[in-house]
Symmetry: C2
Subunit: 481 residues, 2 copies
């Protein structure tokens, strides 16, 4: 396929002017209904429902067949029974449709007969010049063109993160979890059986996509492993790629074969190949969202030596242990830092890293801030785990103040956070907030507030430490490539 | 100390009729103020503030010295500067006080001089027959007697879980995190420097405490290791003990020495000793709360073979992988189960474990329930990870129904959950709910609802699998002892 053709196809898939929905339906709970509801939410395109058994779907006149649609069709959504799909694909060819997405299941994933049917559909599409997503896809979405054909996923927050998923349900989970972390998405593709377009095609496309700054993927098995890793090596120099690769154990590999008919492959081989290509591999969707949050808001640390600032000794112990277990080094403070901290902190401070401020409470930013700056200036420290309030807590907000005072407090705290943010940029050292207790920064409002100021909040030192280790590794990788 | 004396001391510590607060204060943010606020919240006892520089605290008349308190004093709370503590302890002896808790810091944890001061306080208390918590304690609480002298922790939900913590702050974190999991507490002790009463004493006491069904602890170092493990061996036969043992890495061990002057000890030795004594060791407070939730609501599994029921193939793959990585076995279904599932599920189901119901949606409990029962009846399965809606989702609740319909739906779903609960008890097989996506069971109301019906909800298959592995191990331990 020539580059020009390719671009046309991608445009028709992700920013079509017109979409036909074959199998559009008025039955809530059906694919044809869910897809229609999402499609008509945007006025950006013509939507043509197709269904011989009804005259109107969600107030829009229905065509009995593709041929009777008056205008051009850039994208055909196919949501009919598997056995009808070859016929629909033929009609698409006749209509001159450029691209399609097949959400119907019952193809290669369901056995030999399904495989034959799938091969037939591919043949028809190839001959007619149609590129398609699926079959057995849960759909795709593009927030910049306001396209969504996802029957089950609600509105997706726009943002710089693309997701390619070899599981529709798990992709749905990642999207929703990501949004609860404040992550916005550029594009989402549920790849389905990848009978035509493959994960590697989407990766190549997203590398060039201006709206995508970070690429994420849920992978069960690669059909073009060599191509994937070649592409990844080029892409990760500019855009981070974070993947969940499932099927790394005996039974999960068996489940992969049953799910999408791919071979999960040797886990150790995958791990090595990901590392050689600069790809960050994570275990689950929480870790994926943790890493993405850090990449969006923070600089990459120069190394893996952490400084830990806490209000309690126990928290420091647990943070140091989490750091070491996740591959980080607990930094030795320089003499100059020790001297500075001696002047800021009460005599019973820990006199070392982790820096236990020994009960200095949230009211005393006059102590917390200079201590934090001292750690940021320490040349032995590459990143900081901050497990201390910086004047912001729901507790402090909740009961003691009237609304005017709350407003003033929020403004003061906004200034506090942007002070931290400034130093983060100045020193090129990430600061990861670890919430010291549940009542603090468990409020989604407060977490969102921190994120707006570019400070991600992690629920435990272990999760923060794991992310820092990924980031330090990625920085090392970039330095060497 | 004779048993009778011991019981008297514990009674004075945890259910005192009268408490003196030496260092009571009107200054918000001070220990003496925070403690007074919590103490007077209960009408169950006389509270005597003591402070020579003020006449009234929170509306209660103040005594200038212990000697002038008219009645008996069961418990003295000591919240004055370290150097004043010996003098206060002498006054306690003269007054005939039985027990004390010293929240003041500046003792052994702060160096040689502090150690001498601590030894002096111990000597005075021993000679006067006073047993005490601390120094450098953040206080203690007993929900059944409505006692709280915790300056910084809000009201604690009552329940069957006791917590002994060698870090006040981390204990505070566990309490708050636990409450967000719906866990209630019987007693909480911040042990401080353990100059007199030690973690082992509290453990011995809690073993006999009728309000405590589960004992948890945050441990940095054991002063009487042999005694601890001897006690634990006896206790775990009846009451589970779950511990976080910090200081298992080089730098965290160093931080432990700096924090509470104890030696963290060899991590491998601790791990082996915990296992021999039937103690469940966890890594952090999330895992602790995960395990406690399971122990409170579910039976122990007979083995480590799991059945996985999901609505999506990807979720099944990730759950199988998480299970294997955490030491569980993905069960082989019996022929009878396969037959049953063939009749309930659409032809494209996964035909094996993980059981991917292939998109059977939340509306179709008529499919989910028989499938779940089939897994529960399978003799190859010891526990079930359920990653599928059972007719309950905030999404379903949120938009489609009026309040009458919502009420009817909730009732229907309550019946659904209690049906599951019944089978759990009948088969003695735990069912762990893993939320399939964020919008589902992320609502605290909904999680609480599941818990009320005895079904704990876990945010990821990995966390659920880790808990199941702990429980299966504990059951094996109990079978052998």
């Amino acid at each position: 396929m020539a580059t020009r053709d390719k671009q046309d196809h991608w445009k028709c898939l992700f920013a079509p002017h017109s979409v036909a929905v074959v199998g559009a339906s008025n039955t809530p709970g059906s694919w044809g209904y869910g897809i229609m509801r999402h499609l008509i939410a945007s006025a950006k395109r013509k939507v043509y429902p197709v269904n011989p058994t009804t005259t109107e779907v969600l107030g829009i006149p229905v065509y009995d067949t593709m041929a009777n649609i008056p205008g051009l069709v850039d994208l055909a959504v196919i949501a009919v029974s598997a056995h009808q799909v070859p016929q629909v694909m033929r009609q698409c060819v006749q209509k001159g449709v450029k691209t399609a997405v097949i959400v119907s299941g019952g193809f290669a994933e369901s056995g030999e007969q399904g495989s034959k049917l799938e091969a037939e559909v591919v043949k028809i599409a190839r001959q007619g010049g149609i590129r398609f997503i699926g079959p057995n896809s849960m759909g795709h979405a593009d927030t910049s063109s306001e396209l969504s054909i996802l029957a089950w996923t609600g509105e997706i927050a726009p943002g710089p993160v693309a997701l390619i998923s070899q599981s529709g349900n798990y992709g749905h989970r990642i999207i929703h979890n990501g949004m609860s972390f404040g992550i916005g998405f550029s594009k989402f593709i549920s790849t389905g059986n990848e009978a035509d377009l493959r994960l590697e095609d989407y990766l190549e496309y997203l590398a060039q996509d201006g709206n995508t700054k970070v690429i994420t993927a849920y992978i069960e098995g690669l059909r073009e492993g060599r191509r994937f890793f070649q592409l990844a090596r080029e892409i990760t120099i500019n855009k981070p790629i974070i993947v969940i690769k499932a099927g790394g154990t005996k039974e999960s590999a068996r489940a992969v074969r049953s799910h999408t008919t791919t071979l999960a492959g040797s886990d150790a081989v995958y791990t090595a190949a990901f590392r050689q290509a600069g790809v960050i591999r994570v275990d689950d969707d929480d870790e994926l969202c943790d890493v993405v949050s850090a990449l969006l808001y923070q600089p990459l640390p120069r190394g893996n030596r952490i400084g830990i600032l806490t209000i309690g000794g126990g928290m420091g112990v647990v943070a140091a242990e989490a750091g070491e277990r996740e591959g980080l080094e607990v930094a030795r403070l320089t003499a100059s830092t020790l001297e500075k901290l001696d002047t800021y902190l009460p005599p019973r401070w820990s006199h070392g890293n982790p820096v236990d401020m020994a009960g200095v409470s949230m009211a005393e930013n006059s102590v917390t801030f200079p201590s934090l700056w001292a750690l940021m200036e320490d040349e032995n420290i590459d990143a900081i785990l901050l497990q201390a309030p910086v004047g912001f807590s729901t507790k402090r907000l909740s009961s003691l103040f009237n609304s005017e005072e709350i407003k003033a407090l929020r403004q003061e705290e906004e200034r506090n956070l942007s002070l931290i943010r400034q130093r983060v940029i100045e020193h090129g050292k990430p600061v990861f907030m670890v919430k010291p207790a549940v009542e603090f920064v468990s409020d989604p409002d407060v977490s969102a507030f921190f994120r707006r100021e570019g400070i991600p909040v992690y629920p435990s030192p272990r999760r923060a430490a794991r992310v820092l280790n990924h980031l330090a590794w990625y920085r090392r990788y970039l330095n060497q490539h």
